[in-house]
């Protein structure tokens, strides 16, 4: 049964990929990318990698589609024809794929209990992590404690991505973004060809886009708190089930981005200012690194949470809680920063 699901999902995946490659409308490509992420998330679920699936769904389908769309607002919506034939690319793909397949020939069989993966390091994680680290979710133990330093690295990667974007594109100053969302690219073309009697009706929409989106606003107001609440749940539930700082940060950010989409970016920027976000991003990294440093001052190694409390397990718990918080804050701040930078880059709709 599982293999049928696998086959179906994989064939959908292939179809989506081919469609993405063929399609010239970037908007459609982005939508297909979202589908692609969703499919791969489903595949991860069938492989029992629920945490990965969760992250993929939150980041791939959620945030990255929005970010891509906002980036799309800055460019053309159709891909230009490539100047040369795509056969070279095909050759590249075929060669690389062939090498990869060749490489898998001597791999231990998938799920083989005797393969080194299942006999070496993982054994200790499974056997000892509940009384060495604590959380029932082993993924969290590995992620936050055994290999907590890698996670710090990943957090900084996200931080870097955010500030790289700001460094390259730059925040506009407050006065510079008077332009609102939902304003059509140019009035002339979109209205000239339409009948005049309808034109008047929509005149108000241009100036106050939110006013006629009453339903959206109300639903948004209903759901945004729930989204934020859910984000907090994911944040603090990471010890027990799928979840943790990365996913929580993304979900929290998506709540804010939703707010910005419905109520206008400028309003959102008054609620959560770019400066505040910058400080939050910094704070996220500092919380993580700070925990490590505190561990050092208390006599342990960097990120050795055992020393944080009298009882090692409590120490681990506290440490993981804090660093997940740091990750969450950082991811949230960076995601929103990215959205702001794209959204305010140029006149246009998101």
């Amino acid at each position: 049964m599982e293999s049928v699901v696998d086959i179906v999902l994989l064939s959908f995946l292939c179809i989506t990929v081919v469609a993405i490659v063929y399609i010239r409308k970037l908007f459609c490509a982005i939508m297909l990318l979202g589908i692609f992420s969703l499919l791969s998330a489903s595949l991860f679920v069938t492989m029992d990698a629920v945490d990965v699936a969760f992250t993929e769904a939150a980041v791939g389908t959620g945030i990255s589609s929005i970010l891509l769309l906002s980036a799309l607002a800055l460019t053309h919506t159709r891909e230009q024809r490539p100047p040369h034939q795509p056969y070279i690319a095909l050759l590249v793909v075929v060669v690389t794929g062939a090498v990869l397949i060749y490489g898998t020939m001597d791999l231990p069989r998938f799920g083989d209990p005797n393969s080194p993966i299942h006999r070496h390091v993982a054994v200790r994680y499974i056997a000892d992590s509940p009384h060495e680290v604590g959380p029932p979710n082993i993924v969290t133990s590995v992620l936050a404690s055994y290999r907590g330093y890698d996670t710090l690295g990943e957090t900084v990667v996200i931080f870097t991505a955010g500030i790289a974007l700001v460094g390259l594109l730059g925040f506009r100053r407050r006065q510079e973004f008077k332009v609102r969302l939902y304003q059509p690219m140019d009035k002339k073309t979109s209205y000239a060809e339409n009948s005049t009697e309808d034109g008047d009706e929509f005149e108000d929409n241009i100036k106050l886009p939110g006013a006629n989106h009453m339903v959206l606003r109300i639903v948004g107001k209903m759901f945004i708190p729930l989204i934020l609440l859910f984000a907090l749940y994911v944040q603090f539930h990471g010890d027990y089930g799928p979840g943790g700082g990365f996913q929580a940060g993304v979900i929290f950010a998506s709540g804010i981005i939703l707010y910005a989409l419905i109520f206008d970016v400028e309003t959102a920027m008054r609620v959560i200012t770019p400066k505040g976000l910058r400080l939050l991003a910094v704070a996220g990294v500092f919380i993580y690194g700070g925990v490590g440093l505190v561990c050092m001052f208390l006599g342990g190694n960097f990120l050795d949470y055992n020393v944080l409390s009298a009882h090692p397990l409590h120490g681990q718990h506290l440490g993981i809680f804090l660093i997940e918080l740091g990750v969450g804050i950082n991811v949230f701040a960076i995601m929103v920063i990215m959205f702001y930078t794209f959204a305010n880059r140029k006149r246009g709709s998101v």
């Binding site: 231990p108 393969s115 080194p116 070496h120 055992n306």
Partner: protein
């Protein structure tokens, strides 16, 4: 328990966010300056300890090695750390004025923050004993360097950064695939442990196809990162259009760290006695020689001097990989030593380029007319750097080139010796073009007269570099000691 190894990385890593707390470029610069100097100090301490008492190791999070991540510093690491921190400690004072001119003031705090992240990434790669951790920090350094290159003053910086991004990402992905395959074979991510498992399970000798593929991916990925000859195509644009400081920093550190990774993977994971060594040597040999000759000839025809030096960098990387391909003790030590010396001379040469572009605004060959008289100190430094590049005695470049020639003779590779020397002659030609223009081509009367010497904050680091180039040319005991220890260590296995 000494915390030195972790401090090495964590200082710049945590100073990076600090840079953007206050949206002020001076504070950001100062923070970055303090962080780089501190990490330079730390690397000196580490180097001293390693020389005195052998390798250092540090378990992060208190988890022992195969389960957690550990830092492992031996003489090879320590040497690379010294190179990276040393160059950045000199580049940061230089950055103040240069960045002020080249980069939008609002972006400057972000610039310094990214620079520190890049530094931390490079240090993290060099110091870690864990393959995946290496990849994480590789991502860190690559991501920040894409952005840093993209911040360059000319518009083409963006396309250059984009191309670097695509190539770098392919490289990083390949490395990740390689590490993943290794993990699936051994169940471990720790480099020493991978090596142990490979040997213990008899995977190495058996011609295991997964292992072969893993290594092919890793070597190709790293060849991209270190710009080995046919995969160097991203480098000229990236170096040409990046901000001056970034060119200095990346040219003297990033490729060196990639070479370090290659050394680590080839010698510490597979082991020098294994079959790979032979083929790896042969595989790397031809691209290295091609790099030396072709890139040098290309450099001769360049008009943008920064671009010329970028091509020269590719040729110099060819020398390093040539030493590596010899797979004997003297070749390896020559390669490792040349990493250090190339960092010194290329750092110096790109510093002079930064100064020229600061004062003149461009580094086209025609803009060098009469600079010998107008910027005597800068052009003097350029000449010293050029001499070092050619491998003239009494400069740092000579020592490593000499060792390389000796290693080639030891193997009886006379043809290679001749190619090395031809490469040096080509270097004479392309450096000479600049010197000739600067000293013997008079300035046109029409041109404006304001061009003067670069400010002191650019000249002092530059001349410190000049002194280093000459000092390590005359007394190269310390780097040679390091290089030879590292070579012994690599050949002896870990």
């Amino acid at each position: 328990m000494s915390h030195l190894p972790i401090l090495q990385v964590i200082i710049p890593l945590l100073a990076a966010p600090l840079c953007i707390v206050f949206n002020n470029r001076r504070i950001a610069w100062f923070v970055a300056l303090c962080a780089t100097w501190a990490s330079f100090g730390v690397s000196l301490l580490i180097a001293q300890q390693v020389l005195q008492s052998g390798a250092l190791s540090y378990d992060i999070g208190g988890w022992p090695a195969p389960w957690g991540i550990d830092y492992y510093v031996d003489s090879l690491n320590a040497f690379v750390l010294l190179i990276v921190t040393g160059i950045s400690a000199l580049a940061l004072p230089y950055a103040n004025r240069s960045v002020e001119q080249e980069i939008d003031p609002r972006s400057q705090p972000y610039f310094y923050s990214l620079l520190l992240v890049c530094l931390a990434g490079l240090l993290g790669i060099s110091i870690t004993g864990d393959a995946f951790n290496m990849y994480v920090f590789l991502e860190l350094s690559s991501l920040s360097s894409y952005a840093l290159i993209g911040m360059g003053p000319r518009r083409r910086a963006l396309t250059a950064a984009y191309q670097y991004l695509v190539m770098g990402t392919i490289g990083a992905t390949f490395i990740l695939i390689g590490i993943g395959l290794l993990y699936s074979l051994t169940g471990s991510l720790n480099i020493q442990d991978i090596s142990y498992q490979l040997h213990a399970n008899n995977i190495i000798g058996s011609g295991n196809r997964t292992l072969l593929t893993a290594f092919a991916f890793i070597t190709v990925g790293l060849s991209l990162k270190l710009a080995l000859f046919p995969l160097h195509l991203w480098l000229p644009n990236a170096y040409t259009y990046a901000p001056s400081v970034i060119t200095i920093f990346l040219a003297s550190t990033a490729t060196k760290v990639a070479i370090y990774m290659l050394l680590r993977f080839c010698y510490c994971v597979v082991g020098s006695e294994s079959i790979f060594q032979l083929t790896l040597g042969q595989i790397v040999l031809l691209p290295s020689l091609a790099a030396i000759i072709v890139s040098s000839v290309v450099a001769i025809f360049q008009y943008d001097i920064k671009r010329m030096l970028a091509y020269s960098s590719i040729a110099q990387i060819g020398y390093i990989t040539l030493g590596l391909s010899m797979s004997n003790h003297s070749g390896l030590s020559a390669a490792i030593l040349h990493m250090f010396n190339h960092a010194l001379m290329k750092g110096l040469l790109f510093m002079t380029m930064g100064a020229v572009s600061y004062s003149v605004g461009s580094v086209y060959l025609t803009d060098f007319r009469g600079l010998g008289r107008r910027m005597p100190f800068t052009m003097g430094a350029f000449i010293v750097g050029g001499l070092s590049l050619m491998g003239i005695p009494m400069t740092a470049g000579f020592v490593s080139k000499w060792m390389l020639v000796q290693a080639a003779i030891e193997l009886g590779w006379w043809d290679v010796v001749i190619l090395i020397l031809i490469g040096s002659l080509l270097a004479v030609i392309y450096i000479w073009r600049v010197v000739e223009t600067a000293y013997f081509n008079p300035l046109l009367e029409l041109e404006e007269e304001e061009i003067g010497e670069a400010p002191l904050s650019l000249l002092i680091p530059m001349w410190l570099m000049v002194i280093a180039n000459i000092y390590f040319g005359i007394n190269s005991a310390i780097p040679v000691e390091f290089a030879q220890q590292a070579a012994t260590l690599l050949l002896g296995g870990m």
